[in-house]
Symmetry: C2
DNA sequence: GTAGGTGCAAACCCTTTGCAGAGAG
DNA sequence: CTCTCTGCAAAGGGTTTGCACCTAC
């Protein structure tokens, strides 16, 4: 029942089980290139597995996160977002106006990570770095509407 | 009724009012060196203004944020945090294990901001930069407990 | 007097939890 | 047969909203 024989085997060793719900949550993330919210995951899974319960999704997301297969981030949108843990590191530029998320690759931040480690002993999440700000589009729009923010 | 005569004047021009609630929210932030949650703000204000309602706090925080006087961030703690907008830029290293927030100053990130602007046209919030990761303390602790995350 | 603000309580939204029953091993 | 996982429904927690009243101006 699985396309992840090694994973399933190691789960069993640890006393866990491989249920269709669990598999379908993982599959939904695997098929998506971007972050998904719990709600999006539920929607996607239900296409082929209609009676999935949301608690099962939340519990499995927590479970898969503990396993290190899934990464969760709170990008400040009012909900948590999940994605498959991937090795090709990437980062996110999050526009605080339009909430658009631009993925950039690791090169842009390589030196910063070393600096933080050296100066503060802080090991930054460099496979998942969230940078808030204003995107190109919104910058030009904001310049026009600015002046008097209070209104 | 105010220690902010210019602010109050400009609010009035825009058709707004300067209420004790509004003032006390701003004062609570001004007296704190660090981030405050809405709940903390309510607690502090009530010391001298006991019957403040939470909706007024939320509404005023939104209002002051629109004015640019207050900055709000979601550091992924499950609630929004607020602080007075200040010019001496600083940033936050947030440990995803112990949730400790370490403030660091702007110098550590000066070059990164320029790079993001140049490469992606993205104007990063360089007076409020949130970096998730693992702090020194938790790194050593995690190294011991790791190995088998699934259990 | 007239909006803009406040207080209150209820609604909201996403997430978590308790518990009985189902099903993987 | 056992013990983990599921489904359901209800609780949780922070935040938002509707509405009548209040008050800054």
């Amino acid at each position: 029942m699985s396309r992840h024989p090694e994973l399933v085997a190691s789960l069993r060793e640890a006393g866990h089980r491989w249920t269709p719900q669990r598999e379908s949550v993982l599959a939904a993330l695997a098929e998506s290139a971007r972050h998904l919210t719990a709600e999006e995951i539920i929607a996607r899974v239900r296409v082929r597995y209609p009676y999935l319960n949301k608690s099962a999704v939340y519990r499995n997301l927590a479970f898969l996160t503990r396993l290190g297969l899934v990464h969760q981030t709170d990008l400040g949108h009012g909900h948590i977002e999940y994605e498959l843990h991937q090795d090709p590191h990437h980062h996110h530029l999050i526009c605080r106006h339009c909430h658009h998320v631009l993925q950039i690759d690791h090169a842009a931040l390589a030196t910063l990570g070393k600096k933080l480690e050296r100066d503060f002993g802080f090991q930054a999440d460099l496979d998942h770095f969230a940078i808030f700000g204003v995107c190109k589009k919104c910058q030009t729009r904001a310049a026009k509407t600015a002046k008097r923010a209070a209104r």
